[in-house]
């Protein structure tokens, strides 16, 4: 759905970002699909440089998905590498009508799901408290940090900290909700793409996104929900 219709001229409340306008969302990384097709073709023919180029083009998104799903940078790096390894070995089976980036993300999602299950078994996840003071800050809590998007005096450090806190909150969402939320709101995929990636119906995606957003909001507001 790419058409933007102004609801009415009278200024009724209007959603600000519509599904399908993924280029406007920072989580989506503008990559030319056409070049991907060429590079995939070359990689299938054995040109390793072409595959390296594919890795470089997509590593940021793949890593971001893994990081947001797993919450741990080193796990994310390892998983992202594994995703490319798996993609490399499956290149011949890659259906050309699909977008390479979408295919990569769905591989990454699968790997994250397995890996996270394994880590959960070992109870290695640390769940952050929304009310506990953040490390290195005097007063602010996780809830406040996420709620307040205004840039602080040390922007880079604050941005990093905010990202860390976002990751912590994401880790508290149930798996299916987190998957849907990460793909939709952090990576700008459409409902249809998400349904294809997760192997479920569009209606399921829609309701997971809705619930995930409500849960996230409740957590950030410091309420249970």
């Amino acid at each position: 759905m790419t058409t933007r219709r102004s609801p009415t001229a009278s200024g009724l409340p209007k959603p600000q970002a519509e599904a399908g306008t993924s280029d406007a969302i920072p989580g989506s990384y503008p990559v030319s699909t056409l070049e991907d097709v060429v590079l995939v073709e070359q990689a299938v023919q054995g040109q390793n440089d072409a595959f390296d180029a594919l890795v470089r083009r997509h590593q940021r998104v793949v890593y971001a998905v893994a990081l947001r799903m797993l919450g741990d940078p080193s796990e994310a790096e390892d998983t992202a590498q594994d995703a490319f390894v798996r993609a490399y070995r499956g290149l011949r089976g890659f259906r050309r009508e699909a977008k390479f980036s979408t295919w990569l993300v769905s591989i990454t999602m699968n790997l994250c799901r397995n890996r996270r299950r394994w880590w959960l078994r070992r109870r290695r996840l640390v769940v952050a408290s929304l009310d506990a003071p953040l490390e290195g800050t005097e007063s602010s809590t996780l809830g406040e940090t996420i709620r307040d998007p205004a840039p602080g005096p040390h922007e880079a450090a604050v941005a990093q900290e905010r990202q860390d806190q976002l990751l912590s909150v994401l880790q508290q969402l149930a798996g299916p909700y987190r998957e849907a939320l990460v793909l939709r709101d952090l990576h700008g995929h459409t409902y249809e793409e998400i349904a294809a990636m997760l192997g479920c119906r569009v209606g399921t995606v829609k309701s997971r996104i809705s619930r995930a957003r409500l849960q996230l909001r409740a957590m950030v507001d410091g309420r249970l929900g």
Partner: protein, 334 residues
């Protein structure tokens, strides 16, 4: 539209994903209803904040990916999670003398598994040499070693019956390990063994090998060193008796994730390890005592009679094993 309808539709409304008629009526309702409008604005703000999150910087993955694509690179060992499991169990990598059976022959259904098979081969060669001397003509398949403190070594030695003649179990184990390492001549024999087995899996028929993809092998007892040298106190190896090793099983499952979760939980509740190596494969290590229960709990894991017979053989012999390893494939139901 009621407020309830609108609240349910808000998320899709924010995404512009509602059908035109519903979208219009939602917009009208939000305009008229302050509460729903407030909800909408809060939701929109949450979504906007999420969408404003910058993409995190990523490390360059090219080198790592290339490394992992090289066949049988040792790095695979760390990518295979069961090593983490073993590490957590106290087997530090430096002393973990785990020998993965060459019978851990994985179907080349996807490339990840092929890699595992290749690594297993390499591990067999390297670690067998370090693990234990083996009588010629027999095959050592799996050795469990533990990095153990004195108390654990004592316990281990007690379990293995090592401490009868010696003063303490620790010393006995250390002595045996040192003696094993002091016999370079066994190295050749061991690596030859592993080659033979790789080439001819049917050589395992000394143990009750069974049709239907099930292979079981028996590890040899180590030779008894005549002149045991002084203890190597920091390292202990425990291979005293014949042990049952790898059993390959298949279990049909329509939902491999759920089946895997169930199995992992079950195994870990009994002090074993289970790791999902691929979507439809689990590597499991069970304490011998749990094998019977496993067979009862998951009867469909060995649907064929030969497999059940095999499992009962293992059960009968299990008291002599440290671990019983299962390679369980969750097959697609027919």
């Amino acid at each position: 539209m009621t407020c309830g309808n609108v609240r349910e539709a808000l998320s899709a409304y924010v995404d512009g994903a509602l059908p035109e008629a519903e979208r219009a009526s939602t917009a009208v309702h939000i305009e008229a209803c302050p509460e729903c409008r407030c909800e909408f604005e809060a939701l929109q703000a949450t979504v906007n904040r999420l969408r404003a999150q910058p993409l995190p910087e990523a490390p360059d993955l090219v080198a790592g990916v290339r490394r992992k694509l090289e066949p049988a690179h040792p790095r695979m060992m760390f990518a295979w999670p069961s090593w983490h499991a073993l590490a957590l169990a106290g087997s530090a990598a430096a002393v973990a003398l785990l020998v993965i059976s060459p019978a851990f022959k994985v179907r080349q259904r996807d490339d990840g598994r092929m890699q595992l098979a290749q690594y297993a081969t390499q591990a067999s060669q390297t670690h067998l040499m370090r693990a234990a001397p083996v009588r010629e003509g027999r095959v050592a398949y799996e050795t469990d070693a533990l990095k153990a403190d004195a108390a654990t070594r004592d316990q281990l030695a007690k379990e293995l019956g090592f401490s009868t003649a010696e003063s303490t179990g620790s010393e006995a184990l250390g002595t045996r390990f040192a003696a094993a390492r002091a016999q370079p001549s066994v190295h050749t024999a061991v690596s030859m063994d592993s080659r033979v087995v790789r080439a001819k899996p049917e050589a395992l028929t000394a143990a009750p090998a069974v049709a239907g993809g099930l292979v079981m092998a028996q590890a040899a007892a180590p030779t008894e060193p005549e002149n045991a040298v002084a203890a190597a106190p920091k390292v202990s190896v425990a291979v005293a008796r014949p042990i049952q090793t790898l059993i390959q099983l298949q279990r049909p499952s329509a939902d491999p994730s759920a089946a895997a979760a169930e199995l992992i939980g079950w195994v870990e509740a009994r002090g074993g390890f289970a790791v999902q190596t691929t979507e439809r494969h689990l590597a499991i290590k069970l304490p011998p005592a749990a094998v019977t229960e496993f067979a009862t709990q998951f009867p469909d894991a060995h649907p064929a009679d030969p497999a059940a017979a095999l499992l009962s053989t293992v059960t009968a012999d299990a008291s002599q094993a440290l671990w019983v390893s299962l390679s369980l494939e969750l097959t697609v139901p027919q």
